[in-house]
Amino acid sequence: MSKSEQSKAKAPLLEVKGLETSFSIEGKDYNAVDGVSFTVDRGKVVGIVGESGCGKSVMSLSVMQLLPKGIGKIRNGEVLFDGEEIQSFNEKQMNQIRGKDMAMIFQEPMTSLNPVFTIGYQIEEVLHNHFKLSKKEARNKSVQLLSAVGIPRAAKIVDEYPHQLSGGMRQRVMIAMAIACQPKLLIADEPTTALDVTVQAQILELLKDIQTKNDMGIVLITHDLGVVAESCDEVIVMYAGKIVEKTDVESLFTKPKHPYTKLMMGSIPRLEEDTEKLETIKGIVPSLTKMPQVGCRFANRCPKAMPECTEITPQLEENEQGHEVACLLYETSHPKEGVLG
């Protein structure tokens, strides 16, 4: 093993440092992901939770370099994959690792397949992109993959078109496509939302299976804290483009720190609300153009907000061993040396 390979093996699978991704809206750039850092180790499942619009999908698209061209761009930060800085890769270099070493399951199963190609063709495409395979081998492999994700009559489905399949089926096809080349990293953006509960469990089981077999790292994006508890090792809680809490799954559930996390878990009962609506948080994530630039972005919705919350930007720092939080309730989140903003 050469030296560089050694350092490669030691480096975490995915390391994101200070990632800032912006969208250009009416000529101005707004950060949808604002200084996000985290790592994913081989064989680990990192969950990302947060309300709709908090930047989970944009963050994953940034890692894959699949942002809409001309509108979205990575403004700052580094993405290290397998020890290599990939944010400076060109399209051709990215194409060599996309689909093969890093794969993604998209949130939109209904529209993510090309309507004019058969299911088989679309799975075989990723195989042909990265391996030398005969048509027949690729066909057999795609039937295998379809059965593996629990599609009945896989041999028949390969010749069908996306519109002939239900949303859940299409989601499984997307999963089959993503795992076809046994990637080192799988980003799964709400892979189970289109599926019913029993199928959800099957799919998660399946993902875990492949993961342990191949030592694959998974980024699992979900709204569902049950899914997090079930399948993640570490959890990142995002709010409005920033990470507000980051810890292992156990401490998240036993001692959540950020008020936002607590609200999401419904652990703060509020008198003025009826008990049924416990988990819902009043208000919505601010839109990109209305994002407060100073202070805590959650302040206007936070039941524990203090006057300084709109003036001092909380820092994401370790508060307890392995448990990071960004909230002024914790001394660690106050900026050092009295630096404001």
């Binding site: 998209f106 939109e108 993510s112 309507p115 058969t118 679309q122 078109y161």
Partner: protein
């Protein structure tokens, strides 16, 4: 598919009947009849004319005339051209190959131009070249075919002498030889280029916009996530989707070609059906006119049928059975 096609063809019958009624009454409503202009009323015995009218059935009740015409028509007897004094069938058979050749070549040029420009512009939107293509196409759209035709004849035939300015074939060449076909191709070249180029604009801009639309679709992102090269994404994933609406234009296209042929053939004195139609109007040659009218309408119906069937082939979401 076959069943669907058959059903559609049967469904065309009522339309054709309607068309035949329109054709018949249009001919009736037009001033004069086949005698006007052909016979000098001052030198012919009016009783003789009356006798001939009686003999030819012009005095029969209208519905009888209509049914006679239709029943002859479906048996392939289109009557006799009053101008050329030969069966309309022969007349049309003489001209048809010329128009088909002109139409097919024009369509071919349209597709070549539209696809090369549309695909380029769609893949590189908002670049200088895209703006140039857009401008060029609006220019093509704006010039009427008769002006383009006259200019083309002036430059390429009179000034440069590259191509002939009239006719469909050299008289000197022997029919059926290679030279003969080359000569025909050569004669059809300029009219079809003009006809084809003028039909390009809508296709090009449509294709461009559709490609841009499609390039923002989720399935393109999926293909990129699989590591598929950009060129393949455009030439296979996107184009395959963008062809679908283009195909539905085909029916419309045949109408365009028929329309265009009317004018283009007249300018280039190209002996096709369009030119025949115009001379027949001038000569009040009703048997020929009615036949052409029915034929053109039939072509339009056929074009739509072909477009529908092709639609079912290129778009898997539409399975006709």
């Amino acid at each position: 598919m076959l069943k669907y096609a058959l059903r559609r063809i049967l469904g065309m019958i009522p339309m054709l009947l309607l068309i035949s009624i329109v054709a018949f009454f249009l001919a009736l409503a037009m001033p004069g009849d086949s005698f006007s202009g052909e016979i000098d009323p001052n030198n012919t015995d009016p009783e003789y004319i009356e006798e001939m009218r009686e003999k030819l059935g012009y005095n029969d009740p209208i519905h009888e005339q209509y049914f006679r015409w239709v029943s002859n028509f479906v048996q392939g007897d289109f009557g006799k051209s009053t101008k050329y004094q030969i069966p309309v069938k022969d007349l049309i058979l003489q001209r048809l190959p010329n128009t088909v050749m002109l139409g097919v070549m024009a369509m071919f040029f349209t597709y070549i131009f539209a696809f090369s420009m549309g695909i380029y512009a769609g893949r590189h939107p908002h670049t200088k070249m895209d703006h140039f293509i857009g401008g060029f196409n609006y220019f093509l759209l704006a010039i009427p075919s008769y002006i383009a035709g006259v200019f083309a004849i002036y430059f390429f035939s009179f000034q440069l002498g590259w191509v002939p300015f009239s006719g469909s074939v050299d008289i000197a060449v022997e029919s059926g030889t290679l030279d003969y076909w080359l000569s025909r191709f050569y004669h059809a070249l300029m009219p079809s280029l003009i006809l084809g180029a003028l039909g390009t604009a809508t296709y090009t801009q449509f294709l461009r916009n559709d490609i841009i639309d499609n390039s923002q679709k989720d399935y393109v992102r999926t293909a990129r996530a699989k590591g598929t090269a950009d060129s393949k994404i455009y030439n296979s994933h996107i184009l395959r989707n963008s062809i679908i609406p283009i195909v539905t234009f085909l029916g419309f296209d045949i109408v365009q070609i028929v329309n265009g042929a009317l004018i283009t053939e007249a300018i280039f004195t190209y002996p096709g059906l369009g030119q025949l139609f115009l001379t027949s109007v001038n000569a009040q040659d009703y048997p020929t006119l009615m036949t052409l009218f029915v034929m053109f309408s039939f072509l339009v119906l056929l074009g739509n049928l072909i477009a529908d069937l092709l639609y079912g082939i290129v778009d898997p979401r539409i399975r006709v059975d």
